[in-house]
Symmetry: D2
Subunit: 165 residues, 4 copies
């Protein structure tokens, strides 16, 4: 996979009062809600330049997956770097693709200021393409691989991974 820092897919997330826990910051679990919304927004917007052979620019990745299949979350890994406080202006989630397998792929994310001046968290999500009928993994199509390749970027450089595990 050709390495790029990340391909510039960035989604604003509006912080809610309800995101703040009794310690006065965005709760650690809520960050995964932010990742989920970036993922949903990416998957449901027009592919544009990421449309390869067999896909139209107005198609979404969701269209490419098709009604018979779905992209399942297999795992998450997240580390917290700075506390995030309530504020009226949005925080931003950068999302990109860090890995592609036969029927799986991985999203990388950072939750950050728009200009990257501060990074609050970074994360990955392992995704598996699954058939609704059989519940079994199915292979990524060429059009899917093309889009994921267009969105590909560097692996997430986790700093807090335990040596022991």
């Amino acid at each position: 996979m050709e390495s790029k820092k990340h391909p510039g897919l960035q989604f604003p997330i509006q912080i809610r009062f309800d995101d703040i826990d009794s310690y006065g910051h965005v709760n650690n679990v809520t960050f995964l809600t932010y990742l989920q919304d970036a993922r949903v927004q990416l998957i449901h917007r027009s592919l544009g330049a990421a449309a390869g052979e067999g896909a139209a620019e107005e198609d979404t990745f969701y269209d490419l997956v098709g009604k018979g299949n779905f992209a399942l979350v297999g795992r998450h890994e997240i580390e917290y770097l700075e506390p995030l406080s309530f504020r009226p202006v949005p925080v931003y989630v950068n999302i990109w693709v860090t890995h592609m397998g036969g029927s799986s792929f991985e999203f990388g994310y950072s939750v950050a200021e728009q200009d990257g001046a501060k990074v609050y968290a970074q994360a990955t999500s392992g995704m598996v393409l699954v058939s609704k009928e059989t519940g079994k993994p199915i292979r990524l199509t060429d059009a899917q691989r093309h889009a994921l390749q267009e969105w590909s970027g560097d692996p997430v450089n986790f700093r807090r991974r335990p040596k022991s595990s």
Copy 2:
């Protein structure tokens, strides 16, 4: 760390209608809420047999941390093994300690049936003991280490960790 499968700390979690997403299962993010509640319940209950020198049996781990410090979530890692549906009876979170460092420790979890017959997810959380005043990590005390040791168990054997990262 002496190895035990896990030391039998298990908390029931009541599933809420709101936990179910538009795919009809407990949303993947919600599992981290379940882990959080197991953690909060463990930290706020009496130490009992886990009370070492300098701690009373009726003390909680929260008492041992003290008002000037707090245990911060540094990271989470979670993998999803089976979909979990809404039901009136609780699901169970098993929680134990998988690692201890100078000022950090790690919780391991499984979200499962009470008898372990089915495991829906397994996870770890890296925790850091931090001073509220300085924001800096502080060393675990002997009484804290004693309790964490009592709660210690096997590392989580993640199956879906990507080889690439």
Copy 3:
């Protein structure tokens, strides 16, 4: 409708850390989640003694509604009487039926200690039975009316309703 204080339908609700807002109490919105869970539990449990002609004791109200219809929330009214703090033991929702119309009915609730010694909130929800196909209200059946009648109790005596509205 024969008046009874309320017919003894009570459901425990486990308080979550996430329910607590930055003011340190269960957030006012979260109370409606508690009501929702009491409602879901009532609707999905066996009718037992509330089963009338055309219904079996093991049927649920959800069964009586049937797959082609659903019970829609039309409105809520809630008032807050006491702040509720985090605690490991559950709070209780009492739920009963306060009103029946042609195709609508109303639930009354209190969020309280199990013995009623303290009431944190009281509320009503207007429900409408609707056809999934047409989206239009449909008439309550005799079996549905029988169950709702069995669950009927006193109207909620709101104390904070504004005179102006």
Copy 4:
């Protein structure tokens, strides 16, 4: 109170995937989260033209309340008019003041399209100004009354209020 339809205070709310319940629409409870965020945004933004004697334009209503007091939610009333689906563009909450008492006031809201073409829900919230120290209601100051008066509009015309209650 001088009547105006409503004084044009409108806040966009980003819909989250997590807001959607297993019926495929924004869950009825989630609407109250939207109201809460409109309220928080209104209370924390500069008063501007709503600043009266004893308040600066850059002050917020939160500043006027002061650190020793807070505005408590006493009640909510909400009715649902149309189902709201997930979408990438925001929905809007209009918020205004429908009533002022000695130490209390009421917000009115609609959850709607920006141009009002479709209204999904309408609601009111009864608020009480309370002293943190005594927990008792305290009288609204002139500067607070001035701001609330500037934000005042028509009462909410509830259509689904039960005649019985």
